[in-house]
Amino acid sequence: MRFILGFIGAVFAGVLMIAFISNLATYFANPPAPLPSDEFHLPPKDVHFSSDGVFGRFDNRQLQRGFQVYSEVCSACHSLKLVSFRDLKGIGYDDAEIKKIASDWKTQVPSINPDTGENATRKALPSDTFPPPFPNEVAARAANNNALPPDLSLITKAREGGAHYVYSILTGFQNEPAALLKKFPDAKTPPNLHYNPYFPNLNIAMPPPLTTDGQVQYQDGTKPTVDQMAKDVAAFLVWTAQPELERRHGTGLAVSIFLLIATILGYLAYQQIWDEAKRTVRPTGPLDPVNQAKTRRAKAKAGISG
């Protein structure tokens, strides 16, 4: 059986070696052409959010500013369908404010006319989720050059880099570098797309949403620079994706401390329980005291000293 198995192993290894050689032969014969994104794609910018790190917490004023940016800018195209108006309580709005935000929301909620049974719409209630800007995917694509604006509820969990990625995209629009066009003359950004080195394939369908300072008028006196607005809305989208973040960090800390203490106590108990066992290991063979006594007696009997 060992020979059969050894043969099978050799066959697999042999086929792998054939694959290896043909793979490398292809690679050296026609090496893959480099892509513009291999060279010009950038990792997300290094920017600090208060929710970062083990003790990260939200800054409610920032989240409210971010919500304002979302409702005045992003919500024109992007839905937020997993979040309810009532969830806004988590970023510091009270019931009356939430009711007003819901009923003033620019899109209404599909409903049925109670008298005729015909399709109708009604004002949103705090218990509703944010109504999407487009009724369906076809409508969304039709309004956006056939690109589909993604739902933003989970965007900071659904992209590598999270909030840093969102911030980098929002602030990363720029003209296509001359160096890129020189090296890859065919890689000109197509019409209706926009060059953004933080986007994986460098050309994003979304036009720059935050273009001028003061595009949104903040009520708390913060200066609404493009950078500030991008940061605030990225922070807000961390909250929409992980509204439990503060609780999670707090609970995690408590559970970790509890487990640490329990583990230390467990370790001390273990030490105490094993202390005796470690001292009472009894030797066997020639070192067994019983055997040593026997040896001594035998030696004494035979008259051998030592």
Binding site: F12, S256, G266, Y270, V281
Partner: protein, 439 residues
């Protein structure tokens, strides 16, 4: 159980006596994980991962049952039921879900340590072949369960993972496509697949629990292996499981749980793929379809077969991937060295660590984008994987001269091995004398 000095159960209270006389469950527990199970006294911390695996199975079953109460197994509702209902509206639902998600990863992590411990110390060898094979059955069931569980949230990776993994079956000639369609209940993952995966994902953990009982039962016939690999000779070599190993497992499981808690609460999505927070879309393929980290080495083996040679490359890959796990069932008969522990096998030991590195490299390759050079590394690593188990182990066990073994476990505990060395040749040696004598 099989040692003559194992203490029989003695009820301490009239109630326990009453129960024990009518249903000897207390006796069973006492003999399995209580004072009635003598365990080699020299077990090191690598022996603590079996109990940890049991703890994670329990965590998975408990969190899973509660999650199932809130989950909707429909292609329209699954994603929202997880990401809206459970993560936002169910009380502590986020905790249940993150605990379940990361619990799966930690379950695999401790099981991998457990398996590699068995590989190093020869725990698969006689008389523990059955323990080893039942363990492999558990591992296969775990992989099936984890795969189906990953499909349930119906994210992009769920969908495309299901597409790719069920696609393996279509590599087989003639029966392949009908088999795949039968498994999925359709031509692509859809409602039928989601519902049956949910049903099976709920069923299999209980099957795992059943096989775990068999695994422990089989273990208790010869008793635990130990770092010297030398058989237990008499009572001095053992300690009762309780309180000694309950205490050791207790604190060490606490330490493992601490790591688990830190990941669950502070880095809950670190081990997952961001793409799974995008709802499944059959029309849009993700740039990279990557399974969960614990399946990456096998995924790398699958993708290493890039050349058609007699058979199509895809069929080679699928055969190799299935073989890479199935060959482990033959391990007890491939490695015929009479010495169990790798500590006394200088040549085996080197190859063992090479295998550990090899599997880590395979995992890295499996998680990297397909590029000719990474694939080339994966091809070498995959070839080594097969050669290691099917050729090298066989040869090493035939030609290696092992180091002298200690006379007994107590001796090795008392004073290093060399002092009491009893040289043994490379000839096979009956290694069951102690258990035979005990019987």
């Amino acid at each position: 159980m099989s040692f003559s000095w194992a203490k029989p159960y003695e009820p301490k209270t009239p109630l326990m006596r009453w129960i024990d006389e009518r249903l000897p469950l207390p006796r069973l527990v006492y003999g399995a994980v209580g004072g009635g199970y003598p365990v080699p006294r020299n077990l090191n911390y690598w022996w603590n991962f079996g109990v940890a695996a049991g703890i994670f199975l329990t965590i998975q079953i408990i969190t899973g049952i509660v999650l199932a109460m809130h989950f909707t197994a429909s292609t329209d509702g699954a994603f929202d039921s997880v990401n809206q209902l459970i993560m936002r509206d169910v009380n502590a639902g986020w905790l249940l879900r993150y605990a379940h998600m990361n619990g799966a990863s930690f379950f695999f992590l401790v099981v991998y340590v457990h398996i590699f411990r068995g590989l190093y110390y020869g725990s698969y060898k006689a008389p523990r072949e059955m323990v080893w094979m039942l363990g492999l059955v558990i591992y296969l069931l775990m992989m099936a369960t984890a795969f189906m569980g990953y499909v349930l949230p119906w994210g992009q990776m769920s969908y495309w993972g299901a597409q790719v993994i069920t696609g393996f079956f279509s590599a087989f000639p003639v029966v392949g496509d009908p088999l795949r369609i039968w498994i999925l209940g359709g031509y692509a993952p859809d409602q039928a697949a989601l519902t049956r995966f949910f049903s099976l994902h709920y069923l299999l953990p209980f099957v795992i629990a059943g096989v775990v009982i068999l695994h422990i039962w089989a273990l208790h016939i010869p008793g635990s292996n130990n770092p010297t690999g030398v058989d237990v000779k008499d009572e001095r070599d053992t300690l009762p499981f309780h309180p000694f190993y309950t205490a050791k497992d207790g604190w060490f499981s606490g330490a493992i749980l601490l790591a688990y808690v830190i990941v669950t609460f502070f880095l809950p999505n670190y081990l997952g793929s961001p793409d799974n927070y995008i709802q499944a879309n059959p029309l849009s393929t993700p740039a990279e379809i990557v399974p969960e980290w614990y399946l990456l080495p096998f995924y790398a083996i699958l993708r290493s077969f890039t050349a058609d040679f007699i058979l199509p490359a895809k069929l080679w890959g699928v055969l190799a991937m299935f073989s890479s796990i199935l060959l482990l069932f033959f391990l007890p008969w491939i490695d015929r060295s009479p010495v169990r522990s790798g500590a006394y096998r200088p040549v085996f030991k080197r190859f063992f660590w090479l295998l550990v590195i090899d599997v880590i490299v395979l995992g890295w390759v499996g998680g990297s984008p397909v590029k000719p050079l990474t694939v080339a590394v994966g091809q070498i690593a995959a070839a080594y994987y097969f050669l290691h188990f099917l050729v090298i182990l066989s040869l090493v066990s035939a030609f290696e001269t092992p180091l002298p073994l200690p006379r007994s476990i107590s001796d090795s505990v008392l004073h290093g091995e060399e002092a009491e060395a009893a040289p043994i040749g490379s000839k096979p040696r009956r290694s069951r004398t102690a258990t035979a004598a005990a019987e």
